[in-house]
Symmetry: C2
Subunit: 356 residues, 2 copies
């Protein structure tokens, strides 16, 4: 590849679906939810290390999380961690990161990756990334599409158009999260992939699209560039970031970009959306229990148990439960109710409980 490649890791999320392990100040990407010792963001950076050295990895996170994120990634220079004063969805995030990359190398290629996904087949993953980067060299905005394995209603879909180069397709259209019947049709047709939220483009190409589609953002990014040359970028960001339109990169840029392409891939992808997913990814014993705790299991099957404190967890005669213990909280629920942990967090917020 002739161009220098940068990676931008989007790490501003503060999800609630992994409560009580995740908290406002300890979100999913900072937790080792995929089963190993590394946090998801550290796994993400390690996974792309064969493609991008850590000095060319940028992280966009929130001010609240900047220090904890830096602590997770000692190999990434501190100056590469960009701290948003507040979240404004992904379009400003990607735009700001692209401005940084362009400042360092106007010809650079960049990949934009979520911080909190799990990848089961890393070699296949890196091959897809390499294909996507190559497809972006001519100025296209490229996304990776996940070959769907179920009629998922929680993701956006991309309909594949005609084949371009090997492994690269035109985009016929983006489809918002569908109803189940439509999702089933998409799955049956074979012509749809899940929108992975991974993007690949030249910094100048994406900033050209920002200028065309989101000119107010582009103008602000020019001001940030100017301020950066005077060492006062962060002050200007602090003063103005909140005025940026909150819009997703998909909706604000990709859907109406002039040149887009998609690279379908299948590499054991998971967005680790809930404790159910964590259970699915974890190694299990013969009774189907995934225990990340000192445990005594009596007549119990299909359970996910996490108690990193070292507390002894004894389950007797229970099935398909999630049991997660942290220093100050304990969650017990059926695996199939994993989406409803949000109700707990909402209740805690209503009580102004700091454990939300």
């Amino acid at each position: 590849m002739s161009r220098t490649v940068y990676a931008v890791i989007m790490a501003g999320g503060s999800g609630t679906r992994f409560w009580p392990a995740s908290r406002g100040t300890r979100p999913k990407q900072l937790l080792p939810l995929a089963g190993g010792d590394l946090s998801l963001i550290a796994e993400t950076v390690a996974r792309i290390a064969p493609l991008v050295p850590s000095e060319r990895v940028l992280i966009v996170t929130s001010e609240l999380l900047a220090e904890a994120t830096a602590a997770e990634l000692p190999q990434v220079p501190r100056a590469n961690i960009l701290a948003e004063p507040m979240g404004r969805n992904t379009a400003p995030c990607v735009g700001w990161a692209a401005a940084h990359v362009r400042r360092r190398d106007p010809d650079a290629l960049m990949m934009v990756l979520p911080a909190d996904h799990h990848i089961g087949a890393e070699d296949a993953y890196r091959a897809v990334l390499t294909t996507a980067l190559a497809a972006a060299e001519d100025g296209a905005l490229v996304t990776v599409g996940i070959e769907p394995t179920r009629p998922e209603t929680g993701y956006g879909y991309i309909e594949l158009g005609g084949a371009r180069d090997a492994g690269v397709f035109d985009v016929k259209r983006f489809v918002e999260k569908p109803e189940l019947a439509r999702a089933e049709e998409f799955l049956a047709s074979g012509g749809f992939v899940w929108n992975s939220g991974m993007f690949f483009f030249r910094a100048d190409a994406v900033l050209g699209e920002v200028a065309r589609q989101l000119p107010a953002l582009a103008a602000r990014l020019e001001e940030y560039d100017a301020a950066a040359h005077e060492g006062r970028e962060q002050a200007l960001v602090a003063a103005t970031y909140g005025t940026l339109e909150s819009v997703s990169f998909d909706h604000g840029i990709m859907e109406r970009a002039e040149r887009i392409a998609v690279v379908p891939g299948s590499f054991g992808w998971s967005d680790l959306g809930s404790w159910t997913t964590a259970y699915e990814l974890a190694s299990k014993d013969e009774q189907g229990n995934a225990t990340r705790a000192e445990a005594v299991m009596v007549d119990s099957t299909g359970c996910y148990v996490s108690a990193p404190s070292g507390k002894l967890v004894a389950l007797v005669g229970v099935h398909d439960l999630v049991v997660v213990e942290t220093e100050d909280a304990l969650l017990v629920m059926p695996r199939e109710r994993a989406q409803d942990v949000r109700a707990v967090v909402d209740e805690l917020k209503a009580r102004r409980d700091p454990r939300a």
Copy 2:
């Protein structure tokens, strides 16, 4: 009542059915399992205070538990706490306590009560105790029988004989724990009561029966009396208690005593045999949840939750579970599996885990 009354609380138990709250060194009677702030043994002593002042309350426990038991009962003189070097079942325990009582007052009446029962209707309970004490004045060995409310197979039964005084009956026979069909017959017949393990007698009367039925025990108790006058009783107990025959008071004394009687009673008795019982006794919210914890309950019913540490416990979509958290352990099981907590303790013992 013309005779002085002593109470002997049998508090040597080290049950496993309330694990993880109960431990070898923190058994059931030292825990506030009945829903209030007091431990079961402190409740027992408080409950009989209108009948027996605390200076005439003796406690028989194990050496291992003596200090913790004393700490629960500051109103009981330390000299009233008798420490067995090891458990030898209840006949030696009752005999030794009776020797102590006789030494203090040869004419005394005594009641022997388990430390770990719950009584819902205390006035009715004390009325039954008063009747039983009166029935014991003429030298009979008297027990209280609980009017059965279900065909329980976990208790011994007593078949009532003819009526003696008001509320006092002869004993036709003692019946070991029955099979369900027999228990159902007993319940239907109306002529059977549960053996409560509470006993009432004159100290001289019970020691007379000990001399007649368990002469080796009686001889040892005489030696203890002699040693007590020289201030070396505890040393002799330490050296010889283990040689006493291990036999229950029911089997060794009551079943073949010359004069016995039973006082049936109904006063909200529970032997607090398991977490299920603790749930049944606890106050519950409209969803049938009994929470002794800071809790967030979402779509959850019929659960018993205890987390005295102050940990926040969140339950989502679970029903009829027991969730008990202690400083170093956590138990999750269906209420109906409460008897099987023993399997956890057995497993921990096999692992030589100190949390057994």
